[in-house]
């Protein structure tokens, strides 16, 4: 229904323009104004199942062969097209050089698209429907968390194989240049942020889930609050903010939240607009909407969830007074 309404508005606008100026060129056909529409041929799950491998010569050990860092070419003799709606925004700097696309189907999944450009939300705002033609792109895992991009050989992370003397670099999914992204990503229609409704989950439910299915999805945790701890450690008064400076080290900073069912971390970049804001006191409780993340850096670590706030506005009902206090 919404689509029809929008179409109507544009037709009306086109008509208005048509009536007040003589044009010596053909008006752009309405269907072209909407962008390119493709046919979806793969679900995100199918894409991952078919093309993403566990081939990680750098991280793999005798005990673990799951693949922490991978990048596999999406090579097929037919169109590999996934689709979904954008759920992320980089307007507050916490999401940087990627967007997340989520399927609005039952059991739909989500995946991160890594692009070497900032300000992506100007072109790909929340709620934008996109088709992504994945042929010749790479799908891989970064700390076990899947994303689509290109292949990146991390020359700062390597090991030398004793038997052969070969240097084995860590292979990661890397950011695709903007022109590559533009030729593979097809946005269609006006953005509608209401299409993707975050799943409501408790922290216990998140923890009990398979990260392979849940990662990158938008989730709302109710009755949640910040505890003032970082991975269980009590924060000093000076560090009682979302993300103190790491002096350029650059990894996101963990802040624990709980809803009574368990504890989980919200990870925030020191470059986020709200990085320096005072952490909400534990007396503020309510809805926290997040993009679910997962990170496993070492084969002998268990890996853990890390949640991302897209904007401070993801602290919803229950945090109104807090938002007011930091404005």
């Amino acid at each position: 229904m919404k689509k029809i309404k929008i179409t109507g508005a544009i037709v009306l606008a086109a008509a208005l323009f048509a009536s007040c100026a003589d044009t010596d060129f053909e008006a752009i056909p309405v269907d072209k104004l909407m962008g390119d529409s493709l046919t979806t041929t793969y679900t995100i799950e199918q894409l991952k199942t078919e093309f993403m491998t566990d081939a990680d010569a750098y991280s793999d050990t005798v005990r673990y062969l799951g693949g922490l860092y991978t990048a596999d070419l999406i090579k097929a003799n037919r169109e590999v097209v996934i689709s979904g709606y954008i759920t992320s925004t980089d307007t507050e700097g916490n999401v940087y050089k990627y967007f997340v696309v989520q399927e609005n189907t039952p059991n739909g999944q989500a995946i991160k698209i890594s692009i070497d450009a900032s300000g992506l939300s100007g072109v790909y705002p929340i709620g934008q429907k996109v088709w992504i033609r994945c042929n010749d792109l790479y799908v891989g895992k970064y700390g076990e968390s899947p994303q689509i991009g290109l292949k990146y050989i991390n020359t700062e992370r390597f090991k030398v194989k004793k038997s052969t003397g070969d240097t084995i670099y860590r292979i990661e999914p890397g950011r695709m240049p903007l022109p590559v992204a533009q030729s593979h990503i097809h946005a269609y229609g006006m953005p509608d942020p209401s299409v993707i409704v975050p799943d409501t989950m408790t922290i216990a439910q998140i923890r009990a889930s398979s990260y392979k299915k849940l990662v990158n999805k938008l989730v709302c945790i109710k009755n949640a609050y910040f505890t003032g701890r970082e991975d269980g450690k009590i924060l000093s008064d000076a560090d009682m903010i979302f993300a103190p400076s790491t002096d350029g080290v650059g990894y996101p900073q963990s802040r624990d939240i709980t809803d009574g069912t368990g504890t989980i971390i919200i990870a925030t970049s020191e470059y986020a607009k709200f990085a320096g804001y005072k952490l909400p006191a534990s007396t503020y409780r309510g809805n926290i909407t997040v993009i679910i993340g997962w990170y496993r850096n070492y084969t002998d670590d268990a890996g853990d969830w890390q949640l991302t706030l897209r904007t401070l506005g993801d602290l919803g009902a229950g945090f109104e007074n807090y938002i007011e206090s930091v404005k």
């Binding site: 910040f226 924060l235 000093s236 006191a281 007396t283 007074n321």
Partner: protein, 498 residues
Amino acid sequence: MKNFNKYKLLIGTLALALVGCSNLDESAFEVIEDTNNVIYSETFENDLGEFTTQNVSGEQQWVYNSSKYVIMSGYVSPTDYANEDWLISPEIDLTGLSAAHFSFDHAARYFANILTDVTVWISTDYVTGNLPATATWTQLTTKTFSDPGSWTFGNSGQISLTQYTGQKVKIAFKYVSTSKKAGTWEIKNFLVEKGEAEIVVGNDGSEEFPFTVQEAMLNQTNASAWVEGYIIGYLWSGVQTTYHFSADTCTQATNILIADTNALSQIYVAKSMAVQLPSGAVRTGLNLTANKANLGKKVTMYGMLSSYFSAPGLKSVSYYKFEDGTSGGTKPIKAIFSETFANSSKGNFTIENVNMPAALSYIWTPTATYGMTASAYKSPTDYESESWLISPAIDLSKVTSATLMFDHALNYVANAANKLNYISVWMSSDYQSGLPASATWTRVIVPTYPAGNNWTFVSSGNADISSMAGKNKVRIAFKYTSIAGDAATWEVKNVVIY
């Protein structure tokens, strides 16, 4: 100060002299304060400077860190190593001075017992390069160090050296760790200055200086202390543990939460501490189910600093008082002297073995949780022995009566009728050092002895030692004896004189 005044006078005179004959900018004659109070300074910005290190035990050592401090840690991820390491200053000349003090910035974290593992010492006879044990060292009294909770450096506060003026001294930072727990100590900006130390009294958990909630959370020593904070809510312990910062619907009477603030926008779970309310007057007076008006009130409590709900907590609270004077429970006695013997520490007690068979290497020995333990049994033999555990000198000169209390347990007494021959408590006002026979001792009448055949600790009850009141160097001694064929085990802890 004298120099400073001279300058002032001189500059003042100059200013007066010049003022009449030119319109020079007056600011050119600002009094420059004489800041040359520094006797010795080492920032540790570039290296260890003139400081030296002594690695008494353990592989790790004091080292310079390029982040501009010195650091000692017996923790090498993921293992704790036992260490004793000294960082020792060069000679600091205090001759010709009437008062001096020093201070430093530091951060000490993750110690098993910060009070004994992180200490500062002074010596007038230490020769640089030798092991510390080759010299006489005296521990300096500092304000109570505590884990700051982050790696932010804090100042030590000024530590007086006035007692050592006229001498040349060396100051040492002594680090101790065990294979169970190895903390990390970082130090910078060591500064020795002229003048009296301005000593800012820190909270020590006493009734006069109760711990803040933050201090209480950082000093989870399992010892009892006074803690002051605001009642801000309670913990619901069901299937889920939830922090409630309100009293409205509270039905949980067994605990409350306290914090250093009662401003709702400042309260964090991480900065609030759960307080166990034992049944009786404390629970009746404090719980938020029956006393909703207690929410937000400031309260001072006496209890044990111990983990509760898997987080730093205050347990077994026996007494509380509100700002308006309302109180409940039993107010703890104010000790003149106390020694828990907790955490394998014998405190400042000394051991004198009057008769120790060659087969034994010790009779009295500290233990982690049973206090000081005495035994002359070494499998399979009960040896004849006599060993004294003697307190440091205790000043009872300002009291007219005194009482001794302690907890003890006794086991393996072959003949229970003889137990009073084996364990006894003595007091003396003229003991100096060395063997106990050098002094006059009077036996203390101990009201309650343990049964002798189990590990149950019993309280000694109130043992009157008022005959020592008015004396300034009173010693209490725990005398253990055994005979061949009957060597019991005696455990003593929580010694209090009040």
